[in-house]
Amino acid sequence: MSSRLSALPRSLGRTNSWELWITIGLLLLLPMLMATDYALHIWTRMAIYVILLTGLNFINGMAGMISLAQAGFFGLGAYAAGIAAVRFDVPPVLALVIAPVVVTLAALLVGMMSMRLKEIYFKMATLGAGFVLFLLFGRMVELTGGPNGLVGIPPFSLFGFEFTEPIVKYGFVALLAIIGAIVAHNLLVSRTGRALRAYGASEPAALAAGASPFKLRLLAFGMSGFYAGVAGALEAFDSRFISPSTFDFMMAVLLVVALVLSGAGRMIGPILGALLLTGIEVFAADYADYEPLIMGVIFLIAIQLFPRGLAGELAARREDRRERAKREAAEQAKPDQEVVRA
């Protein structure tokens, strides 16, 4: 029995420091490979996605719940920062602080309302939350500029120094992405991160060990919101223009797919997912009309290739193993019961 079961992948249960080092290494090395202004622009977008996906990883990866709200949170961060800077002349530094706070609060609220729901309802609730934000971006015209977008966002600046040079922009975003990855890694290997996973593996045992699911999942939601807020603000200061369509249903799905395909719950997931997303963006610039169709087909094939679905796959495998263990237990239990009845 043990020989068969131990053939399963073992890496997931371990502390993967090397995955953190790869993330940091890629963020430092990529601009050295190609440092033209255009390339740096692409790398900057990728680093923003790293932050966004690292945030999503707290919910999708560690807590094991598929949230479709992250695109909406991303947009909320972008609009919070953009509106603060454009409408209220808030200095960019302050806007970069306001955005994550706003999004964290929103994420905590959505988390409190949705996290006790069963999986399929949770997806709908988070999709609804993300979509209502998307709608509001288009409808609150006086604040957001409506469907035409919010224009005139200033570049990020610190003590009067404007971050307009591509390399400076990239350096700043990459720095935040690295800090974000380190913090996420800290959480992943801490008792908090383990408790989050433990809760997904065995609810009763985690409860009996004093791990509060409510607190832990709320923390995961709050963290994902905070990261989305930072990523959104950086997006606003990077693009200097934001419009609702960036944060639509398609984006919500893309984020989940990118993360799940590249390893939800692992430290390496966000950077690989960000590379995938950026790749799609570069590719889609030429084939924009075909993007949803192609992505949908890839997504469907991926789900069909991994029996029982992507993110559910690991959980389902775990469930299988547990079921198998229980079956074996039941078989072994038979002689025992005879002892009792004797």
Partner: protein, 266 residues
Amino acid sequence: MSTSERQGLRVTGVSKAYGGLQVLKDVTLRAPAGSITAVIGPNGAGKSTLANVISGFVTQDAGQVFVNGAELPAGKAVARAGHRLGRTFQNLEVFTGMTVLHNVAMGAYSRQKGSHLGDLIRGPRTRRNEREAEESARALLRKFGLEHRADSLVESLPFGEAKLVEMVRVLAMEPEVVVLDEPAAGLPPASAMPLAETIAGMAQEGIGVLLIEHNMKLVMSISEHVVVLDQGRVLTEGSPAEVQKDPRVIEAYLGPGHAKSEELTL
């Protein structure tokens, strides 16, 4: 904590009904520190519900549960670890996808202080906690001969060892009281002896053990006190020898008519 303060587990007047079905009726029992108290009874006697009330997974309709004199909040499983009450489950409940070491460390974490947010920056306290949890987990694994398994995923272990990991995880909580829900379920008869030793070891360390068990052999060989549940009430209690001879117990287990002719054999 000195032994005089260690009173173990006390359950007073616990009742629970599901709809019209009275599953537990005014159950009062004690599991003193440093000894093994067994709860036996036929299927449907309410043993599992009792374990769930004590460990906070089921909210009782009436009655209280105390550990070392402190009342435990009804129906709050997550608060039990703080009162140093640990439990195992009838069906194997381990943290799949995690190593044996981290499974056991989960028990150790439960007695540590420190905020979740502190873990984000991995401050000195988090590092200290982490080190302490892993060291104590490793020490326990060594004690139970599982050291070589420390870095294996828990699902790669044979069933018996996984069961033991579950028990070691509870011990890592440094519990005052442990509720064992059918620990022998699913184990081959050959494993009964090591299991009995493990449980006896808990009591020797001063833990109040409440053993809920089907396997009469195990119960009779290690318990100091046996409580018999039948149809949700305490039918009788006493030493294993007393309980074994009690005609009411035999009747509850084997049905009426057997009481005169038989003694509950093992």
